[in-house]
Each structure stands twice: as C-alpha cells, then as structure tokens.
Symmetry: none
Subunit: 210 residues, 4 copies
C-alpha cells in the first residue's frame, strides 16, 4: 500500500502478475484447503502456466504465505480505518464487517490451521494481524472505560472475548444451514450481517442478566 509503485513497465507487469497469481491462489486455497489445492489448478485459475508460478514464488508454500500476508494487511486495515465513535457501533461494525465473504472466512480458518506448520503464516497472520486486532480493540475499550462509557472491566479480557466471538461467528457462518436455520427474526425479515451485528452488540453491552 505504502510501497512506491514500481517504476518501469516491466516491474509493473511483474507486480500485476504476482497479484493475479495470489488472487487465484486465494480462491483455490479457500475452496480446497492448502494440501488439496494443486499448483496446476492455481495456475489454471491465474491463467498462467505452472512454470510461471515458479518464476514468482519459489514454492507452493510461499504462495500460501503470500496470500496470508495479503489478508493480514486487509484485516488489520479494516479496524484501524473504523470510524465508529462509540463502542456500541464499533462492536456492531466488527461483527458485521469481518468475514462478510465466504472466501475470507475459509481463509481465516485455513491460515489458523497452517499457522501450526508454517512459521511465516504464523508470523504474518497470527502474530501480526490477529494480535494487532486484539490490541487495537483493547485500546478502544480502554478509551471507552476512561470516558466512563463502560464499566471498568479488564480491557484485555474484554477485547479477547469480543474477538473470540467474532472468530466463532465466522466459523459458524460456514455452516449456516445446520447451525443457523433454527434462528428466526421476530419481524420475519431475513437475517443479515448488519442485523446480527446490532443484536450481538446489544447482548455484549447490556448483558444477559435481568
């Protein structure tokens, strides 16, 4: 993002290829998982030959790392760009926005699995991206407490709880037919990410207890 755009035409074309390949890889990885995705399939999706893949990435694993880095950038970008002023709106936004797309949700789970086996994915996605989201959330909560908008809960714990909930929802969304079909809105409207964000924010803010 902040990188200066490549100067020469050759460099610009190379950068475009990289993007094109990573996008194809993201699609295939999200659908098949890492192991079941084949370089052949990724090449086909990127509309290049398998050989070309290896001109841009040394190994298949590097493709995964590249995709993880891309998504780490996106995911951390989102929270820092949030313009929500109160915690109420913020929680609603986080839930509504994060993992709105199937591909993102699948990749999220994929990265977590692969983080166990790949140091780079661990570093880029877990250590830098997820840890940063938690830390940012923590700061927002601390501010809300300082401003008297929130009771003095442990902000680290609260941030982790909210993050866990969002992660959990992203997992559950994947199985909407089995896990969500039982849920109905009282007004009969279909369940949307926005409505859900608002409802869950309400639960979090006001609690369950009478």
């Amino acid at each position: 993002m902040l990188d200066t755009p490549p100067a020469t035409r050759r460099e610009r074309r190379a950068e475009a290829r990289r993007t094109q390949i990573l996008s194809a890889a993201a699609t295939v990885f999200s659908r098949k998982g890492y192991e079941r995705a084949t370089t052949r399939e990724i090449a086909a999706a990127a509309d290049v030959s398998e050989g070309t893949l290896y001109n841009y990435f040394a190994t298949k694993r590097d493709l995964l790392v590249g995709v993880a880095q891309n998504y780490a950038d996106e995911v951390t970008g989102a929270i820092t760009e949030s313009t929500a002023e109160d915690i109420d709106t913020l929680v609603a936004q986080l839930i509504a926005n994060r993992f709105r797309h199937r591909q993102e949700r699948r990749l999220f789970m994929l990265f977590l699995q692969e983080a166990h086996l790949n140091r780079d994915v661990y570093q880029f996605y877990v250590q830098e991206a997820l840890a940063r989201i938690i830390s940012d959330t923590e700061k927002l909560i601390q501010t809300a407490i300082d401003n008297g908008k929130m009771r003095p809960v442990d902000p680290g714990l609260a941030a982790r709880t909210i993050s866990a909930t969002i992660m959990g929802f992203s997992v559950m969304f994947e199985f909407s037919d089995a896990l969500w079909d039982g849920l109905k809105r009282k007004d009969g409207q279909p369940i949307t990410a926005d409505w859900l964000g608002g409802q869950v924010a309400d639960l979090f803010l006001h609690g369950l207890e009478k």
Copy 2:
C-alpha cells in the same frame, strides 16, 4: 452405551484394536491435519501395520469419520451431563470445560474444515454434535428467561453468541503465546481455564456497558 460389551475374546480384542487405531488417528490428525497425516504414521502410532488399519477402516477418510464420531459423542455428552443450576455457573463451565485439551481444540478446527468435504463428518460433527449443543444451550437460556433470571433476549441468538465465543476461544487458545501473552490477572495468578470461564461469564451476564 447401550451396546452390551462384546462377549467373545476375539470380539473384545477387535474392539480394543479399533479404539487403539482411532486414538492413534486422533493424535496424528490433530498434529498434522488430515492430508499431511499419513497412514504409515497412523499405523506406527497405533503400533500396527498399515494393512491392519484397513482391516478396521475401509479408507483413510473413514478413519477421520471414526474420530469425528468419537468426539461428537464426547462433546454432546458434556453439556447434557452438566449439573450447573444457574446460567452463571453454566456459562463458566462451558467455557472452562470445552476444549480444555489441545488435541480436542485442534480436532475441532480440523473437523470443521473437513466437514466441507465429507458428508459424514458434516453430519456427525456439525449437524448432530454442534447443532445439538446450540439447541441445548438455547433451552437452558429459555428456562432461565422463564424463571426470571435473565432478561427476555432472543434465546436462539444468545445461544449462538455464547457458542461462537466458546468456539472462538478454543481457536485462540491454540495461539496462546501470540494472543494471550498480553493478558495479565490483577492478582498475579496464572490464567487458568476456570478463572477465564468465570470472567467471561461475568462479561456475558452483566454486559460491558456501565
């Protein structure tokens, strides 16, 4: 459960072998994931030959299904056996108990990934086990509302939110060093599952807002 224990010695030995193999498979799958786990490795962990594996399970995938069924039984067993009388203790228990073990947490993620690709895993783990947990939680909340212990939130939504949080925590636990190190207890004690359960239950019940 209701099956009478196998009568003959041969049958008892066969049952023991099945258990022994499934246990080995669970270990290897949880460490390597499905694709990276090899039948050779599973056989070695079970201390049998690769051929023997196939006397008990027709395919490698059936091994995964077998493991999933086992864990589905365990996971649903836990909630129905819960003796918690108030919602307070129940939430704390759910969080504290579920996924207390590393292997279970890893398998949880694995099953969800593989559920996309295997009908049986989907059925046994997602449709029957997870869906049942949510449904049971929903009933407990409804009861709490009826008893006036909880404000009249949508029980379906609340059950899903609590479940999502637990799932999310189970994911986060896996990366304790990156995601949990920042969290400290005020009293300086180490973070335990029980303490965490209590704290999160408090957040859920009383909300964040002042």
Copy 3:
C-alpha cells in the same frame, strides 16, 4: 478317476474339501481371471476361511494348477469316450460338446494365457490335454482315410485344423452378441450347439467349393 477312493473317513472328508475348494476356485477364476480373483473371494465361494485354503493348497497358483488338472481330465475324457462311428458325427459332436458351458470356455482361455507363465498349467493342460486331443483326432482321421471314407489329406494337418476351429468357436461364443447376432437360420429356429455342429461338419466335410 482311477485313483482308489480314500479309505478313512478323514481322508474322504479331506478329499471332499479339496473338491469343494477347487470348484469354487474354478468359478471365481472363470469369472475374474487369475490375478483379479482373490483368495478371499475363493474362500467365500467355497464357504471356508482363507486359512483353510492354505491347508489344502500351498499357494494361490496351486489352486489354478489344481483347476487346470481337473479340466484337463474332463476334456481328454470326452474325446476318448466318443462313440461316434463316422467322421461326420464325430466332428459334429466335438463342436457341439466342447465348451458347451460358459465356465469351460472361459477357463480354456484362462489356462492358455496362464500356460505361458506356469509350467504346471502348461504341462497338464497344453502338453497333456490339448496335445492328446489333437493326437486322438489325428488317429480317427487316419482311420477314416484308411477306411476310404476320407480323401488322403494330411491327417496331422486336418486334426489341427479341426481343433483350431473348435477352439476359435469357443472363443467367439464368448462374444455372441457382437459376433453371432448377424447369423440367422433359414428355418427361423434359434441357433443351438447341435445345429451349429452339424452345419460346420458339413462345411468341413464337403468343402466350400462348388
């Protein structure tokens, strides 16, 4: 056949088992071929365990040899028992009788294939059985020539030609739908082995030429 029947009850039972196993092996071999037939399947067809198979035959290949011996006995038995007095009837009988059953036709082809790879099958089936059939036919033809019933053709050649034709028919019968459907009897009757035998004998005896 000429063996004295086993004296003791134990020996009689053992002999019955051998027969039972060989019969099952013949069935399975004829359906699947040698390699694709499994000892498990043969055991099941014989209604014994796999282990029992090995109490009677040292290897799977010995099962094939046993089957080949059985059929060699049968096939040579047939011609020597022939009561046909003239060459006319003999040719008709040979064609009509040999390979009347699907299982025999299949085993015939199987033995020929396997004779290349197994010395015993070669010896029992090709060297002893087939060679004897040819030799017997040759003698019959020589007699017919001597009796003035046949023109002085080379009896060795004639015997081999007749044998080749019978073998060829047995192969073609296997693909009756593709290779026989085009053939119709003038009287509209269905094609039977007897009719075919008569017709072919006529061709052989009187020739094609006007």
Copy 4:
C-alpha cells in the same frame, strides 16, 4: 489417417511419445498380461518415468485401450487391403497373414480376456474390429457364391467358421512346441505360414470327404 500430421515440433514430439509408450505397453502387456504388467515396467520399456505415462494416459487401463485401438486398426486394415482375387488365395492369405507375429497373437488373446471387463476394449476390438472382419469375409463369400465359384453355403456361417479357424490357429501357434511338433511336411521342408495357409485353404475349399 485423415489427420493432418501435427504441425508444431512440440506436437510432433508428443505424438512420438504416445507411440513410444503404446509400443512399450504392447510389448509388456503381450508378455505379462494386463494385471501382471506393472506401470513401472512399462515406463522402463518406454524409457520414460512412471509419471510421464500419466501425462499421456489417465490410467493403466487406458494404456490397454490405446493398445487395443492400435491393433484394431491394424487388424481391420489388413483384410480391406487384401488384393486376393479368388477365394482360394484369400483364405490362404488370411491364415498366413493374421497373427504372423507372436506379439499380435498374444495381444489377441489378451484383448478377448479383457473385453469382458472393459467396455472400450470390447467396443474397439470385438465390436468394431472382429465383427468387421467377419462381416467383410461374409461379403467376399457371398460374392464368390454369386459368381458361381462356391456352392451356396450359408455365407454367415462360413465366414464365422473360417474366422474361428484362424483364431484357433493363432491360439495354437503360441504352443508350437507342444501342439505342432508332431506335424511334418512330406517334402521335409519346414512349416511356414504360407505353406500352412495354402494347405488349410485346400481343406476348406475341397472338404475332407472323398
């Protein structure tokens, strides 16, 4: 045949590889049969790696189908190209030419065996090739009858009888030591395909009977 030869060098090389692999497969299949032939051995015979086999044929069975198609083309080509003017020469030629080579004779048997288990082999070899040979022979015989060169036998039956004889000889050739050694030419010359063709044609045309 009507295909234009591949234009590019790459395509020409690919076609050569296919041919090279099929030729190796034909050799190995003819020696070992289908099941006993290993892809490792075929690859070695073709002087390529096992992986390369699968760049040209999806499965081992497809290799067999490819070989069968090749031979089906050859076998049907032969009869239609026959220039024999009288039935006498034709029969002699058919017998002399067909299955002149050991590999062809072995593959003939192999295809018939495998035709039971593989639809494509059945179609290409039995339905199209063998059935066509019979049908072509039938037409030649019908013509000979119409021209008054042959007595009015059933042409379908005669064609099948000749075909059966040729097939049978091809089978018997395989066991020349056991089945042919007894045959001697009166003039002391060695037995050749041409001589044999002539002799058998004589038998067929003029019959056995005095």
